[in-house]
């Protein structure tokens, strides 16, 4: 290579459990052809980002063969991560959705128990105790 390999360390950066989650926000010209949805726009930008890196790899390579080798290696790294990435994204996403639903439902139940059931039963107990005392007095008076 005549210059640095732009895909150096790509495998490490594709490790989605350990790569930093720090993000950068970029301003791009509002072309009417750009997709409205953020995820689709990110895909467009990432495709262009890798196109720029690919150009740089071709420039840095000493021959077409070397450029093919470098880009093929990067492609293998990307391909290797795909199955687990897709699975984890689906699995983690749906698990989190399920857990968030459970948290909402269980949270309501906990609040209901704390704020209504427990005070209600405690209030009932006080009323029962007061009536039991009154009934006992009445029985003692009657018996005495």
């Amino acid at each position: 290579m005549n210059g640095p390999d732009p895909f150096e360390g790509l495998e490490r950066d594709l490790d989605f459990w350990n790569v930093s989650d720090k993000t950068v926000e970029l301003a791009v010209p509002g072309d009417p052809d750009l997709p409205a949805e953020d995820g689709h726009l990110r895909f467009v930008l990432y495709a262009g980002l890798f196109d720029l890196l690919t150009d740089q790899a071709v420039l840095a390579a000493e021959s077409e063969e070397e450029a093919v080798e470098v880009i093929d290696h990067a492609l293998s790294s990307v391909n290797a991560v795909e199955p687990t990435l897709r699975y984890e994204l689906f699995e983690r996403g749906s698990t989190a959705e399920r857990q968030e639903l459970v948290v909402r439902m269980r949270g309501r139940e906990v609040a209901m128990t704390r704020e209504w059931v427990i005070p209600h039963v405690e209030q009932d107990i006080e009323a029962y105790q007061a009536r039991i005392a009154a009934l006992r007095r009445a029985i003692e008076e009657r018996a005495g």
Partner: protein, 178 residues
Amino acid sequence: MMRSVMVLAVDWERLRDAYPDRTDKWLAADAVRRGLRLVQGPVADAGPSGPTADRRLAWLQASFPRRSGSICTQRFDLVTGRERFRRAAEMERRTYDEHLELERDLVPPLKERAKTLRAELRALEEQLRQLGVDPEGIEPKIDWPRTLAVDTYTRPHYEPNESRRRRTVEFFRRTTRG
């Protein structure tokens, strides 16, 4: 009008390192322009078999950026979702513990106490009736419809995972023996 888009910092750093003389503004605009051309263009076929280097290179240049873009977009969703996944799991565990504490340790003694008192109260009322006294005339009265009915309440049985595991192992041991 400008739009904004987020990417992982590590990816942006990679591009910056490859083009140290270019500004972020230039790189972002060029990446979007190139990306749009790639996304709107035809999807490259599977790589040519046994190709010459120039054909293979042309194919890689056409297909690799798009494919990497797709994978990195999904990776962005997963990486930026890690905190949400962690928080959801932690909240689920926390509310589970809280719910368990309430339903196992706090509510049952109260409901059992209320159940015992209701039975005692009814027994005393019956005793009074047998003594010829109408308990309805004695204050304070209970507004029964407003009370929580606990007469048939039974304490829930919580089984620890370990004993459930032991029972399952025992079950299969018995069935496979036969």
